[in-house]
């Protein structure tokens, strides 16, 4: 491609844990490769809908602080989802942008994604397609196993983000949405629930746990009342899934998130329901969470309701 025909962003500041993500890769747990994919699937879906992209188009995910990008190429639109503060720097001046709104970028314009507010993950994309390589059907970057584009590494300064396709028939759209928060995380009791003393089972549901700084795309470590194991602090290693809450030998809960190890040997006290996963991952270190017990049937219904809510939001995009 001739350089004057190129459309690309140059990364002036990488931000924290900035990676490409899509819906992730399936059917690889048996060789030790997790789903990966966008942590907050609703915000991923909203972003691609706002930009009229294919539902599984790659987006740029960031945590806490996003990248500062400078654009080179022909006119393009971008949009950001999540609860995010960002500035758009053009020749006319600097303006504060709003999430869930599309903005025009011209050659030389910049987007400075300052921070996520009271949340962890935000998403950035364009009315088009980033030039990414696919690994097992997905462009999601898994930094732990170094799988994905950019050699499986997170973005770094001076990286150039290629755009291989721009949708020229695109019309600017927006959504009025303030995001969705949650107070209680609903869970289903785990396969090793009876490994824990009755008083610890009660504490697990009655008391609150604090999210520690040792939280990333692989897992979320919590601290609070110690959960006492009365059977065995280990089980024979077996498969894990997203949302499983294991209790470590120290008695602390750890929740498996999208890049988790595929098998593990700590007992499972509970699993976060699918309907609450997107909101769980947005909770910042330092915040407190409480677990609420629900039945499997309720969890299945709650997931359907959550999906209906997402589809409803998509239908409100104008």
């Amino acid at each position: 491609m001739k350089s004057k025909d190129r459309n690309y962003f140059k990364i002036l500041r990488a931000g924290i844990n900035t990676t490409y993500q899509d819906l992730g890769r399936n059917n690889l747990y048996h060789i030790g490769i997790p789903f990966s994919g966008a942590m907050d699937k609703r915000n991923f879906q909203l972003l691609n809908s706002l930009l009229q992209n294919d539902y599984n188009s790659p987006v740029i995910e960031f945590a806490y602080q996003g990248p500062h990008l400078k654009y080179f190429g022909k006119d393009i639109f971008f949009c950001i989802s999540g609860n995010v503060s960002f500035k758009i720097i053009t020749k006319e001046g600097v303006i504060d942008g709003n999430s869930y709104q599309c903005y025009l970028l011209k050659n030389g314009d910049e987007v400075d994604i300052r921070s996520t507010n009271k949340s962890v993950y935000g998403y950035f994309s364009i009315n088009g397609t980033f030039g990414v390589d696919y690994y097992w059907g997905s462009c999601s970057i898994n930094t732990q196993a170094q799988i994905g584009p950019n050699n499986g590494n997170k973005f770094s300064k001076d990286l150039e983000i290629e755009i291989i396709d721009i949708n020229n028939s695109f019309n600017k759209r927006k959504l009025d949405y303030l995001g969705s928060t949650i107070e209680n995380i609903r869970v289903i009791k785990g396969t090793n629930y009876d490994y824990f003393s009755e008083s610890s089972q009660n504490k697990f549901f009655k008391e609150s746990f604090k999210i520690t700084k040792l939280s990333d795309r692989m897992g979320m470590r919590l601290e609070g009342p110690k959960i006492e194991n009365i059977v065995d602090p280990n089980i024979k290693s077996e498969g894990l899934v997203k949302g499983v809450i294991q209790i470590t030998s120290a008695g602390d809960p750890i929740i498996m998130l999208s890049d988790h190890g595929t098998i593990g040997g700590y007992p499972k006290i509970a699993t976060v329901i699918s309907a609450d996963y997107d909101r769980l991952v947005q909770l910042t270190p330092g915040s407190n969470i409480k677990f609420k017990d629900v039945s499997l049937e309720d969890a299945e219904t709650l997931y359907k309701l959550y999906q209906m809510e997402t589809n409803n939001l998509i239908s409100q995009i104008k």
Binding site: N26, N27, L28, Y29, H30, I31, G32, I33, F35, Y135, W136, Q144, A145, Q146, I147, G152, I188, G190, T191, K236, S237, E238, G239, L240, V241, G243, V244, G261, T262, I263, G264, K268, T271, V272, I273, S274, L296, A299, E300, Y303, Q307
Partner: protein
Amino acid sequence: MIKNILNLGDAALYCDFGSDVNQEINSNVIKYFYHIKKLNLKGITNLTPSYNKLIISYDLNIHTFLSLKKKIENIEIKENNKLEKNLIEIPVCCENNFALDIKRVENKLKLKSEIILEKFFSKNYFCYMTGFVAGMPFLGDLNQEMRLKRLETPRVKVPKGSVGITEQFCNIYTFETPGGWNILGNTPQNIFDTSNQSNPNLVNPGDTIKFYRITLDQYNEIKR
């Protein structure tokens, strides 16, 4: 052969084959794994075989727990279904800077290092499962006199290629990762190949592994 099917959260089936760890139970798990994989059922997003469990993750938009449970319960697998097994030979160098825990193993097992390595290399090992990190094989069984616990304090970084033992099992660290197994050597062979999209794993569940000992020169030769 599946004793019981429970739910693991709201989007996975937890198929229980028993509580013991042995090759007979594990072979059943692996047979089910390959059989279901071949069926290519719509809406199944992952299959995770382990020693005595098989976890089936599914898309909640397509299945409910009860509907999928019924499907899996109705699967019939012939007892005499043969497992496909490969014999894979893997070179291991046990020079001092690779055998990170040989002194500890000597002390715990009260055996001389040469005896330990001789015993280790004299046996073929069965692959129970792969995972935790990409491609890591969980192999067994070590002879009774070779069994010891994990390190009291796990290493923050175990070098890629390390071959370790704990309890009745041995494994190969396919990536640099934290870990607590007793390291006896290192293999120059790539066990997980990201660039091989169709078959990235050198070792798969059900395979048999034969380790053979190499010198540092041979190690460097293969590595080159």
